[in-house]
């Protein structure tokens, strides 16, 4: 049932107006980046990007292209605002989180512009919920400058291969060490916890490895607490691409297929841990 919201009295169209037949297409992606209360929303004609940052060295982005929406209109070049992501998720899932076959919540989202709240209209089974969420001044976002042309190593894996590994990561270890190399061990995840070190190797000819482009041996360590939230995105995804650049910056790109078979992406960027000591062989 399409929800039509009246444009504001001044006659000006909304800065952002979008309609989605199944709100879960949006809420499940946002949950994959929900590890902080606040997020920055950035909308252009291409779609919506929601960014969450942690500790000035980690950034997660969820991309929902305009094509996923039944209607997506942005008035200016781009619209940006900061919003409480926990509240937004509670509103998007107001009718519950269990997905019964055949029932879905329809969503209409309207944003009048700077200083106005984000309006959500959600409908399921004839019941309508209206939410008004206050927005805030967008903050400067980190620019990771992860240049796609300066990628040194890249591996694309089927997510099911990594899920167990990530779920069982030794959290007593402060870091997760990732080794990528054209020679053995090819792709290795290591932790150094209270019980000892653990290494998980993926040979390049394994079925789970879809693509393997490693030019030089690199070993980098990342704070494990920063990467743990990416497990949510991993759980939803079918494939993940792991890339590192010359400075050791890590890019994790998750390909997620929604209930209707459409593809969306979630990305995690992370700086290498600065207290880097000589990596163990």
């Amino acid at each position: 049932m399409p929800l039509s919201a009246q444009p504001p009295a001044s006659g000006e169209p909304y800065a952002l107006a979008a309609s989605l037949d199944n709100a879960r297409h949006l809420s499940s992606l946002l949950r994959a980046v929900h590890f902080q209360d606040h997020a920055t929303c950035f909308a252009t004609a291409n779609g919506l990007r929601v960014t969450v940052e942690d500790a000035k060295c980690m950034q997660a982005n969820a991309f929902i292209q305009a094509e996923i929406f039944q209607e997506f209109a942005v008035q200016e070049e781009s619209v940006t605002f900061r919003i409480n992501l926990s509240v937004l998720l509670d509103c998007l899932t107001i009718f519950g989180t269990s997905s019964l076959p055949g029932t879905s919540t329809a969503l209409r989202m309207c944003y009048r512009g700077y200083g106005y709240p984000l309006m959500l209209f959600l409908e399921e089974g004839g019941v309508v919920t209206v939410c008004k969420i206050n927005t805030q001044e967008p903050e400067e976002l980190l620019d990771f400058d992860f240049c796609n042309t300066k990628v040194v190593n890249k591996v694309i894996l089927q997510s099911e291969g990594l899920r167990e590994a990530f779920a069982e990561l030794d959290m007593t270890s402060e870091v997760l060490q990732i080794t990528m190399s054209p020679d053995k061990p090819y792709f290795r995840l290591s932790t150094f916890g209270n019980a000892g070190s653990a290494h998980l190797d993926y040979p390049r000819d394994s079925d789970l490895v879809e693509a393997f482009h490693c030019n030089q041996t690199q070993t980098n360590r990342y704070k494990i607490s920063l990467l743990k939230p990416s497990t949510k995105a991993l759980a939803l995804s079918c494939k993940v691409s792991i890339r590192t650049d010359a400075q050791g910056f890590l890019s994790l790109q998750y390909m997620i297929r929604n209930e209707d078979g459409q593809i969306c992406f979630v990305e995690y960027y992370c700086c290498p841990d600065e207290d880097i000591t000589e990596a163990e062989p």
Partner: protein, 266 residues
């Protein structure tokens, strides 16, 4: 039934009469002002029922107990052959629940739970009278409980209090509002129950404008507890709102009736 009561009250009063059992919670400050009246016909639950009250003219027994204890005892009875409940007075008054469990050998196993109860003396029986239906402003049927439950659970994350408003055109809104966010859920076509006029009971409701809303702000946790306790859809579910004072919920199942009063917040 006991599970539902256990969720709503830490201690309550059990009143036994020849034909009925009542679970009663009266509106003391300690309960946050809520009160509850749950009534069931013993015939629907028990094959045998024998009781003898204090005296012939007052053939009733009032006991104070913690429903959680009774609920736990009855958990053992899930797959029982028979359950016997007896009021005994060994060292102190107890409700003895004897559960006969099926067993492979010829002799059956019996598990006994002794639940301490307090006997309430007759002089205090007046504290536990059946509450009268308040002079409400609007009476309305509740929406599908599953939807109402989901919405209230989410709203609980966002606010401590919730406003229930309804009118005589079958519309009900649930609203929360704070600095960060405001959320309103609109239910339509709910229907308003007809109340038989008893000495002008309906006088305040009859002259009412159909569209105008009666509202009350209540503690959201209390509402959520009430809804969470409803595992099965009731045969009839409605609420009566006295504007800014109290919300009276009536939930009827085939063999149990439950009334729950939640006062409005100051």
């Amino acid at each position: 039934v006991i599970n539902t009561i256990a969720r709503l009250a830490k201690t309550c009063t059990l009143r036994l009469t020849v034909s009925k059992l009542y679970f009663i919670l009266s509106d003391k400050v300690a309960n946050g002002g809520v009160s509850m009246w749950c009534e069931l016909c013993q015939g629907n639950f028990f094959d045998e029922f024998q009781m003898e009250g204090v005296a012939a003219e007052h053939n009733e027994i009032y006991l104070e107990l913690a429903p959680e204890n009774l609920s736990r005892a009855l958990k053992t009875a899930q797959s029982a052959k028979a359950v016997k409940i007896k009021l005994t007075n060994k060292h102190c008054p107890c409700l003895r629940v004897a559960v006969e469990l099926p067993s492979l050998s010829s002799s059956s196993r019996i598990v006994t739970h002794d639940i301490p109860v307090g006997v309430i003396p007759r002089r205090l029986w007046n504290d536990f009278r059946e509450p009268s239906v308040p002079d409400f402003d609007v009476s309305i049927y509740l929406p599908v409980l599953k939807t109402m439950k989901s919405v209230v659970e989410r709203m609980k994350n966002l606010s401590n209090s919730i406003v229930i408003e309804a009118n005589l055109s079958g519309e009900m809104n649930l609203k929360i509002e704070n600095d960060l966010v405001s959320v309103t859920t609109h239910f339509k076509d709910l229907g308003n129950p007809p109340w038989a006029s008893e000495d002008g009971y309906q006088s305040s409701a009859q002259d009412r404008d159909l569209e105008s809303m009666a509202e009350a702000r209540i503690d959201i946790k209390k509402l959520q507890q009430l809804l969470a306790g409803q595992q099965v859809n009731p045969t009839k579910a409605l609420c009566n709102i006295v504007s800014k004072r109290i919300v009276h919920f009536i939930l009827l199942h085939e063999d149990v009736s439950l009334q729950y009063f939640i006062p409005a917040l100051a």
